[in-house]
Symmetry: C2
Subunit: 202 residues, 2 copies
Amino acid sequence: MEIEIEGGSVTRILMGVSESTIKGHPHASISSRGAFDWTIQKIVRHNTSAFKLLFLHVQVPDEDVVFCICEENHSIMTVCHNFLLLGFDDMDSIYASPEDFKSLMNRDRAKGLHLLEYFVTRCHEIGVSCEAWIKRGDAKEVICHEVKRVQPDLLVVGSRGLGPFQRVFVGTVSEFCVKHAECPVITIKRSADEAPQDPVDD
Amino acid sequence: MEIEIEGGSVTRILMGVSESTIKGHPHASISSRGAFDWTIQKIVRHNTSAFKLLFLHVQVPDEDVVFCICEENHSIMTVCHNFLLLGFDDMDSIYASPEDFKSLMNRDRAKGLHLLEYFVTRCHEIGVSCEAWIKRGDAKEVICHEVKRVQPDLLVVGSRGLGPFQRVFVGTVSEFCVKHAECPVITIKRSADEAPQDPVDD
């Protein structure tokens, strides 16, 4: 029996990706890389033309801005940009002028773009179609909102695989998405041997 | 870049499948069929040789028995069989002799085998490799135990997609598996238009 695939369309997989929390390392977190590798190896496999990966990175809500990396030419499109001088997550510096905020914002944006560039480049190397964008807000709320808007076939989120005690403080994004996202959700727990000594170093 | 797939092995997807609860309808439940269809259409697609589906049906613990349907010739292997005269889920009849239990047990087993036959036949038609077996026990505990034993790449469970109030009474299997299964889990919620008027009729 022939497998009927609706309209011959590709399977669109939305992946929530995050940066490593190690200061000065604007790299993909271990859990995000793990979730990506798993999705390629176990789901996409060699059937690259049948899938499209959508990468969403949610940054803390210090500004209301949307950036997109266009897969074809890696150009950056700024869709919306309302600068708010509130809520930066790096408190090591003192901000004395509007310029301080501007440079910080640029650095913050650059980190997010580096993160997306990592995944877009990997997709390009593998030969799987993709799109990537950044949104600001509460990660779990934004991811579920984007699922509603983008309507992917599947949402993949990495998880640090923490114990119940640690989960009280972190790692509730995946649990929230499993309950509230309006599409099937896979949580990829990081394997124990990939966990850094300090849980913050993911 | 070539996608490296460990040992060139297939992606093994374990699916927990259940019967419809409508009396006299030994058919796959709407949620099980939905989860199967989704997995074929969105994950396996036409890449049938890269996947193997493993169907696990968990029956209520009235006996400790394992049946397997062998994909190649549909023969039934009884691995273990310890008959216990306790805990049947159908209370419409009075059981007066050991023979009554035996015929009931045969009917129960036949229902479970029909269920697995449905999925094995569909896999055969589609051309995707599969295995199917029945275990007795508490569904959520047995599924997680089988994940540990069989070590699939992915567990897929259907869910009735009930509201928080209804979830208190049913539908906790998927939630338990998401938390406790030692592999990534996808819960496929039944879409609203597939829900029967009476939730019990799934």
